[in-house]
Symmetry: D2
Subunit: 266 residues, 4 copies
């Protein structure tokens, strides 16, 4: 059993490089220190309670289909203006609350290419994905959850420094992999990086061009900031790169993303 | 595939009856209306983004082992004062991030007793649990996730009125079921009510006495506010009351509870 | 010295009747119970610390000029789309951070008309305002902060029940008072109600029509949810209805409103 | 008229150096882009609305008397454990909601000593305060709000870099000034630094020792992170270092601090 989630706390990767995202803010509504001080005795129960405030995509996450627009449209041709201050009236994450479960496949591209982690800016190509799958002896099937390891997160964790992990440069999927994803008819694509695709992007005519295609055109979710080090070690050890994958989103109504704790069962 | 989670939104069950808990507050950090208005064009990407603030136990949830104290101790004998404003230094929910997966068993006690839902104050006894398991033809084994249906949530949803669901009166487990739980050596106990145990409690000498025993003494988590209507209908239809159960908590570091989306796979 | 603010806490008037507004959520980041438990001793300082989350217009407040639009424009002809998820690029509350100070005048219309409070739906007219000013012996001058008392808040506080105070029916200013406000060239208009203008509105062709005029066309701020009971008693006692008024907004950058603590010095 | 507040936004001084404090998070509940997109037309009103989450002491602030403890006591001998997860039952900021108004005096020590700003670690002594007051021709009287300028904030603003401003090293008041404050019987002491007192502190036997004395023993509030550059220039220009000072806290119930917008009227 492997959890593919980073813990959610104020030591997460957000450094203000992109958008308004911040690390989770966890605060207590009741504590054991209150309880032992006797401050709860009138209620007859000694307990702790807590809350959290967090951007839905600050840590290990699913992008919902309402997250990215192409021109003025989102997936399925819906008007992008259906996502307003009240949330996503279409393509919200709660629509897939019982859908993110299936066969998972790890493509440990970094290990296949003999590196601890790929350097920032390294684009992983269709051929890289195919070579890795073949070398690992694992077949990609329709409906799979494909999880690509670049080593980026593991490197940051080992260095104990996030640096530009969230919104800066990173290794990642080449733009052409959108074709591979479409052809393979997979259920979702996940990586151990902040945003799946290589950064700097391969063009300067658009920001995150692969996102423009994969979410609003192909219509699949992407999983980002997945913690893959333990799973990858296990797969390398036993040579089995497929597993049962259960990654239920937190069904925040009308949300365009979701924090989660993906589970791989081998 | 069944999701056992309520959606998380401002129409949830919290009405301020207990503690400081409130319903989730979902707000947008970027929207499709901004995108179509051209306000994001400088960045070269059209997207929506969002955040949420929520008590960790406002909806479908796990209690962590640091949630309830007996006198000045929590599970495993740790000092309750290790849960302070900085969170739970021991028994935080993140410690079980890869543990909440296993065999699930539904005990649909309400259906077994021929009621739409039990009335508030109805205590479900050990015998009720045993009778239900036997009638359903399902065995409780060590390590199971046992899920008890009272019909309470379904009734509220059908009435479209939460009323006292969160913190008011409710049907639920009798105090004696703590013995049953301990004897069966189950992994966790879950219900479709706010707080598992019957309310009003069976004594007025303590508030939530069953909690005092189950969490700090027996050391198991309880799942609360589970949505069981669809799963229960399916189990009644095919006569199979066991399933694969995958209920990963959101690993908020040092948290004493977690919102979640439990999945039952039949 | 009179504070015209309600305290900000979870017992405030918001009941979910209008928009997404909620009462303030005040949580602690460090406590005296932690301190006395010794949990802070490593840091060498015993302290408490806290945070709050609140809609900027949940309690005693200023509306900023970016709060209301007429068609697709806001005050000064700016495009309403300049207020997006990133806040108000024009007409934000921080622009008036040093402007909300001057001569204050109380028009205690309820007292003048011999009522504890006006009934919901009572429209206060231009003549009512003039009659009250004359009876109280106070002149309205250019640049004044005019504060109108309906008794609505006092009634709710005495009944200990907010009911429909926030977003429901209320006494308030007639639509025609927009003319009075414009002619008098006052600095701002404030009341002890949720939204200044009478509700139900005097038309069903628009919601809050007086707001459409006063903010985007006349360009003045309105103060709402002002606590006037103590000030009004004092003014009635000494017959002096004018005072020094100091009501600095909290300058949240690009905000369209601000909670505040207005001070009247007599 | 001078506002002595920094704007509250995500570009504030908090960098995670001390405690769990973070910069304000301002999010929108409704926007002009939604309005112009027609998404609000059903409601009949075009508007924007917003919320903020912030530590009460993240920016320009008052410390409440419940903020600092000496041993297990706070000001007036109250047990520190009266400040728990539910807030400060005694010495909360709301108790002084109508008290923070009076005569203000600026002691521009940096200017008096001919420096743009004092270096980190510079301790301002009683003699420094007296010399400055005398040179400026201003008398300190009982009940005054005394505001000391070190130049620290102005330096950060000019450099456009907060660096260690919040929780790092800083110039500030020497420990002995607690005596000066007590003897002068002033109403409050304010500075343009994060924490009033010099950092590194003059001892390593306690953290923030001056706080231990000034809040729980002398019982006065301190104002911190005050923006003094414009006021100081004006005082230097006209030689008048006294003014009407109106600094109402935001009365968050049971809070141990408050963000605010202090106003100086000359």
């Amino acid at each position: 059993m492997f959890s593919l989630a980073l813990n959610f706390d104020r030591f997460g990767p957000q450094k203000g490089l992109w958008g308004n995202r911040f690390n989770p803010i966890h605060t207590m509504l009741a504590t054991g220190t209150d309880a032992v001080a006797g401050n709860q005795d009138e209620g007859g129960l000694r307990y702790a309670d807590d809350m959290v405030s967090l951007p839905l995509q600050c840590g290990t996450q699913w992008d919902a289909l309402g997250h990215i627009f192409y021109d003025d449209k989102m997936w399925n041709g819906y008007d992008a203006r259906l996502v307003d201050s009240d949330g996503a009236q279409k393509n919200g994450i709660e629509k897939v609350k019982d859908k993110m479960v299936g066969r998972g496949v790890l493509l440990d591209v970094a290990r296949q290419f003999g590196v601890d982690h790929f350097e920032d800016g390294t684009a992983i190509t269709n051929e890289d994905l195919d070579v890795t799958a073949q070398a690992q002896g694992v077949e990609i099937r329709q409906g799979d959850f494909v999880i690509v390891r670049t080593g980026h997160m593991g490197h940051c964790l080992r260095e104990d420094e996030w640096g530009g992990y969230a919104g800066g440069e990173a290794p990642g999927l080449a733009f052409e992999t959108a074709d591979w994803i479409h052809a393979k008819r997979i259920a979702a694509i996940c990586t151990d990086t902040w945003g799946c695709e290589v950064r700097p992007n391969e063009t300067d005519q658009a920001s995150q061009p692969w996102h423009w295609v994969v979410i609003p055109m192909i219509g699949i979710s992407m999983g980002e900031i997945f913690f893959l080090e333990e799973l990858a070690d296990d797969c390398a050890a036993d040579g089995v790169f497929e597993f049962f994958f259960c990654a239920p989103p937190l069904p925040v109504t009308k949300a365009v993303g979701s924090p989660l704790n993906p589970i791989a069962v081998k």
